[in-house]
Structures are given as structure tokens and as C-alpha cells.
């Protein structure tokens, strides 16, 4: 049985509603951040936070405007925005930045490059090994020998 108004729940209509909801959620998050920062400004002398307060009024006002007039983006593709490979990349990057100062530049960079390449295409491990060794050495030469940037040596190298 076809219910009244069911035809309105077609894909484009559904997408439109999603866009409106997401934009409003973004506006609410922005307002929450704005309130939190405003609350933080109360612990400072007024002259120190005059400019941030002025900005917070503007920020809050714009958030309210986005809440009232949402739908400034055509659609959201959540599968693309929050895809598995993107999460994995961010996770690897965070892991690398945590391990890098503890273990040391060479070992971490070499291993990170191999894991990164292997995760995204499981072929040619030999090529990956050569690439990772050359890239790590090249970066070492450019930054440490050329620009005198001393990378952390860590526990290993």
C-alpha cells in the first residue's frame, strides 16, 4: 500500500533533509564551542579578552545564521567522508608521530613507510623495502645534513 506523502521520501528529498540536519548539527557544535570559549574568557581581565569576545559574538552570530539557513552544501557522502582507508591513514599518522620520538627517526620512518604502502596495496614488498630505505635516507640527508634539523634518535636510531 502506498501511503500519502511516500513519494516525497525519494532519494533527492532524503538527501536534502540530511543536508539540513547535518548543517544544523554543525551550527550547534559551533555554538557549543563558542559558549565554552566564552565561558573561558570570564576568567581573564576584560582588556585581555576584548578581541576574542568580539570574535565570539561574530562566531556565535554566524552559527545561528547557519542554523536558520542550512543546506549550503548539495549533499554529504558519509561513506566517502568517513571511509575505512581514511581512518586508517589518520590512525597510522598519529601512531607514527607518537612512536617517532621514542624509537627514533630512521627505524620509525622506514617501518611506517612499508606498513603504509603494504596496507594500501599488497604487492611488491621488495620495491617497498627499497623505496622506504631510499626515502628515509633522502629525508635524513635533506633535513639533517642539509638543513641541520636534528631528528630525535630515540631508543634505536
Amino acid at each position: 500500500m502506498v501511503r500519502a506523502g511516500q513519494e516525497r521520501c525519494s532519494a533527492p528529498y532524503h538527501e536534502e533533509v540530511v543536508v539540513l540536519v547535518i548543517d544544523r548539527v554543525i551550527a550547534l557544535i559551533a555554538l557549543a564551542v563558542c559558549s565554552l570559549v566564552y565561558w573561558a574568557t570570564l576568567s581573564y581581565p576584560p582588556e585581555v579578552v576584548a578581541f576574542p569576545k568580539f570574535l565570539l559574538y561574530v562566531f556565535g552570530g554566524l552559527s545561528v545564521l547557519i542554523f536558520i539557513f542550512p543546506g549550503q552544501q548539495k549533499s554529504y557522502n558519509f561513506k566517502k567522508i568517513f571511509s575505512k582507508e581514511k581512518f586508517l591513514t589518520i590512525f597510522l599518522l598519529i601512531g607514527y608521530t607518537i612512536v617517532f620520538p621514542i624509537v627514533g627517526y630512521f627505524v620509525t620512518t622506514f617501518i611506517f613507510a612499508i606498513i603504509y604502502l603494504w596496507i594500501f596495496k599488497r604487492q611488491g614488498l621488495g620495491q617497498y623495502l627499497i623505496y622506504s630505505a631510499i626515502f628515509s635516507a633522502l629525508m635524513y640527508l635533506v633535513f639533517q645534513k642539509g638543513l641541520y634539523v636534528w631528528f630525535p634518535e630515540g631508543l634505536l636510531l
Binding site: 585581555v48 578581541f51 554566524l62 571511509s83 591513514t89 599518522l93 617517532f100 629525508m139
Partner: protein, 504 residues
């Protein structure tokens, strides 16, 4: 003065600087030719390499890279139907059809020659107009600097974005981020959340590297896993037998009006904060089509279309430097990153840059002529080979860029905290871009925040007792800036109303 000119020319023609310029152009062409890599990303990840260089040499590298990238985008646009940079999108319209007709060599010749002429025109305008414009900045007081920052931010947030409120919110976010750190009036730490590293505020370079590079890396990885979402790349039939050479004098003379008109459009649009290369090249393309005797041929593969688009986007590159060097308002995202590079070397845009540090800024400007000559030579002799770079597997590119972002952020102060800042801003940039927010207003907000705050504080101090609005209305430049700011906010709404009326 004579001595200064001689010193500048000698500096530009030092063997190190010539090699740096050639290397910058070559890297830029490769970056520009790689779909998914943008000029801003290239300049952002190579900026840390300039830290250890002499300021003039560092700027030469970045300027050459920008010029190379603007041209490089056209090579992949013509040969594989995919613009390497957004600025080359208009080049695809006639460039690739020419390629399909077996005229790839002619299209590449026109692209490099038009890019060269556009670039030379833009640099000449920069050389002639930047110094007097910089002197105008001497007439600016604290209120004008505050209003100039507001104008720069509103125009960049509204002109290029369809989502006006989101653009403005992104700009306000950048300004708010700039307030983290020591307060300039009393020296009290603000919003530093107990982190000693935040007392100096958020470092601009790691923030920019994160905002510009990490979203591109994530997209690269996504496209690597989902090749069906990649635009169709169609290689030309005569790809392996392309001969470029120099254009004939008869054709150069015939195309002179196109080169001049498009270069003027490109430079003008470049000077407008936020407009960018794609707007410049499409405007020039449309204008050339409009005045042409045979507009119906545009889009079918004619040299005029390539000439218009390429002259405009290369002229835009220098045009974007004019407001950045003179007033501290970058014309586009690359100019914003280059401004960050200036600030790292302790150089402040404005009149002083052209007086106290004249030898640096003039060396940079003159080196842009050299960069354009290198671009002409590389483009003429090696263009088809640059396309081979586009065949590099995306996962190799992604890992290289990811590692470079970490090394580059660490190189600024030898501090892991800056790397964490880069990662946080990278994630923020990705979330912003995927939800319809541009990151350019945020970067501009971080750059202009201190200028705006100092301007506002000083304005309040010197307007003792007066109503601030009344005080501002008494100052002609302030009044002009207020009107321009209001117009820049109103323009997108006017455009939308006009478009909806046309649709009806």
C-alpha cells in the same frame, strides 16, 4: 639606487639562486601536473626547506615553484584530460580536444608560450605597481589595519564560496585560533590550556601544512582504493611523438590581443583576495570567446582557448603577490603560504619591506622573470615527459607527502609539538572541507588575527572617549574600507538573487 639594482641583478644571477629557480620550476611543473596535487600543497610542504636558506633564496624557490605549478597543470589537462591544478580547468576545454585531433604539440606549445607571456606580464605589473601601492600603506593607522584585515577576510570568505556563512565562520575560526597564546597588551597567557608550547600561539606553518596537505593525502588514498571515482584519463593518440618547438611569429602577432586581454584579467583577478586561478582562467576564456569572430569553435580544440586560459592563470600568480607584499592581504592560498614564509624570516609586508628589505623583495620579483624563462625552456623541451610523473602510483605519492608533512612541521623548531599541531589541523581541515567549509579563510584568519587585534586595541586607545563608529567615519580610508567590507558581504546575496531571477 644604481648600486641597488646592480646588487639585485647580481643576487638573482648567482649560480645558487639560478639552480634554485630552475629546481623550483621543475618541481612546480611536476607538482602541477600531478592530479590531486595543488600548487598550495606543493608550496606548503616545501616551505620548511626554505627555513635554512637566505630569505631571498627561499622566496626564489617558492615563487619559481608557484610559477611552474601554474603551467604544469596545463600539461595533464591537455594530455590526459585531467587538470593538474584547478587553475588549468579551463585549459581542458580546448587543450584536450586539440590533443585528440593530433595537435597535442601545438596545444602544449601554445600553453607554455601563453603561460610565459602571462607570467612576464604579471611580474612587470608587480614590479611597477607594488612599490607605489606599498607607499599607500604608510597612510594606514590602527583603525585602517583592523578594517583592512576584516575586509581581506570577508572578501576571501565570500567571493570564492557559495556557502557565504560557512566561509565567514571559517574566517572567524581562524581569527579565534590566532588569539591563543600570550595577550599582546598585558602579556597574560590566553587559552593555552596549560601547554607551554602554546604560549607563543599556534605556529602558522604547521597549521598551514596540516590544513592544505592532509585533506589532499586522504583524498589521494580514497581515490587509490576507489579508482572508479577518478575522472577518466584519456591519453592522446600521438603521445609518444609530440614535438613542441617555438610558435611562429605570425601566430604570436595574431594572438597578441588575447595574451594582453587575458593577462590583464589574470593580474586583476589575482589582486582580488580569494578569487584564484580558476576564476581568472575561466573569465579570460569566456571573454576571448565573447569577442571572437568564431565563438562556436571554442571547445572544439582551438589554440585561442588554450592561450586565453594559460595567459590568465600565470598572470594571476604574480597578481596575487601584489596585495600580499604591499598590504599583507594574500591574493590566494599560495600567496598566504608565501606570506607565512616571509614572516618566518622576520619580514613584514608593507612599505618597510620595499625600503629596509628592498634587496630581498626586488631579488624575489626579478627572479620571477628568470623562473618564467626556465618555465618556457622546460615546457618547450620536456613537456611530454612531465606526464610520465602522473603515472606514479598514488600510494607512493601519499606516503611521501605524509612523511614530508611530518618532517616539515618538525623542522620549524625541532619540536614534536608542532607535528601534533599539524596533525590536529590536518584532521580539522579534512572535516571542514568535507562539510563544505573552505580552509583558506581559516588560514587567512590565523595570519591576519594579530594585525586585526593590534589594530583594534590601538584604535580603542586613540579614539579616547569618542564613539568608535563616529571616529571611523571621520577617516576617509576607514570609511572606504567599511563600504568595501559591506559590499563584499552583500555581493554573494546580490549574485544569488540575480541568479534566481534569471532562472525564473
Amino acid at each position: 639606487m644604481g648600486g641597488t639594482i646592480f646588487d639585485v641583478v647580481c643576487n638573482v644571477f648567482q649560480i645558487t639562486n639560478l639552480l634554485i629557480a630552475a629546481g623550483g620550476v621543475l618541481t612546480g611543473i611536476i607538482f602541477g601536473g600531478l592530479p590531486g596535487f595543488t600548487a598550495s600543497m606543493g608550496v606548503a610542504i616545501l616551505l620548511p626547506i626554505t627555513f635554512g636558506m637566505d630569505p631571498a633564496t627561499g622566496l626564489i624557490l617558492l615563487g619559481a615553484l608557484f610559477a611552474g605549478a601554474m603551467y604544469g597543470g596545463s600539461v595533464s589537462a591537455i594530455l590526459i584530460n585531467t587538470p593538474g591544478t584547478p587553475s588549468a580547468a579551463a585549459t581542458v576545454l580546448d587543450g584536450h580536444p586539440m590533443c585528440k585531433k593530433g595537435k597535442a604539440g601545438e596545444a602544449l606549445r601554445e600553453a607554455v608560450f601563453a603561460s610565459f607571456l602571462g607570467g612576464i606580464f604579471g611580474v612587470t605589473v608587480l614590479l611597477l605597481f607594488a612599490p607605489p601601492l606599498a607607499r599607500i600603506s604608510l597612510m594606514f593607522g590602527p583603525p585602517e589595519y583592523f578594517l583592512l584585515a576584516m575586509f581581506g577576510l570577508t572578501i576571501i570568505a565570500t567571493i570564492s564560496e557559495k556557502a557565504v556563512f560557512k566561509g565567514l565562520l571559517a574566517g572567524a575560526l581562524g581569527l579565534l585560533i590566532s588569539t591563543i597564546g600570550m595577550d599582546p597588551l598585558l602579556g597574560i597567557p590566553r587559552f593555552s590550556m596549560g601547554f607551554v608550547n602554546l604560549l607563543d600561539g599556534i605556529q602558522l606553518i604547521p597549521a598551514m601544512i596540516g590544513l592544505f596537505s592532509i585533506p589532499e593525502v586522504l583524498n589521494m588514498i580514497h581515490l587509490h582504493k576507489h579508482p572508479e571515482e577518478t575522472p577518466t584519463e584519456e591519453l592522446c593518440p600521438d603521445f609518444k611523438n609530440i614535438k613542441i618547438g617555438f610558435p611562429k611569429l605570425k601566430q604570436i602577432i595574431k594572438f597578441i590581443p588575447i595574451y594582453i586581454r587575458s593577462s590583464i584579467i589574470g593580474t586583476g583577478v589575482g589582486m582580488l583576495p580569494g578569487a584564484g586561478g580558476s576564476i581568472a582562467s575561466f573569465m579570460a576564456y569566456n571573454e576571448t570567446k565573447r569577442v571572437s569572430k568564431h565563438p562556436e569553435l571554442f571547445g572544439t580544440g582551438i589554440s585561442e582557448g588554450v592561450a586565453a586560459s594559460e595567459s590568465a592563470n600565470n598572470a594571476m600568480a604574480s597578481g596575487a603577490m601584489i596585495p600580499m607584499l604591499t598590504l599583507g592581504i594574500p591574493g590566494d592560498s599560495v600567496a598566504a603560504i608565501m606570506m607565512g614564509g616571509l614572516m618566518v624570516h622576520g619580514l613584514q609586508p608593507g612599505a618597510e619591506l620595499f625600503t629596509s628589505n628592498g634587496h630581498i623583495v626586488y631579488t624575489f620579483i626579478i627572479s620571477l622573470y628568470v623562473a618564467n624563462i626556465f618555465m618556457l625552456l622546460f615546457g618547450t623541451f620536456f613537456a611530454p615527459y612531465f606526464t610520465l610523473a602522473t603515472k606514479t602510483p598514488r600510494h607512493y605519492l601519499a606516503v611521501s607527502v605524509t612523511l614530508l608533512t611530518v618532517m616539515g612541521s618538525y623542522a620549524l623548531r625541532g619540536n614534536m609539538f608542532d607535528v601534533y599541531v599539524m596533525v590536529v589541523f590536518g584532521i580539522l581541515g579534512y572535516l571542514m572541507k568535507s562539510h563544505g567549509f573552505s580552509v583558506i579563510p581559516t588560514v587567512l584568519g590565523i595570519i591576519l588575527g594579530p594585525v586585526a587585534e593590534a589594530g583594534l586595541n590601538n584604535m580603542i586607545a586613540i579614539s579616547t572617549g569618542d564613539n568608535i563608529l563616529f571616529f571611523l567615519f571621520q577617516r576617509p580610508i576607514s570609511l572606504i574600507l567599511i563600504v568595501l567590507t559591506l559590499l563584499s558581504i552583500a555581493f554573494p546575496f546580490y549574485r544569488r538573487i540575480r541568479e534566481s531571477r534569471v532562472a525564473i
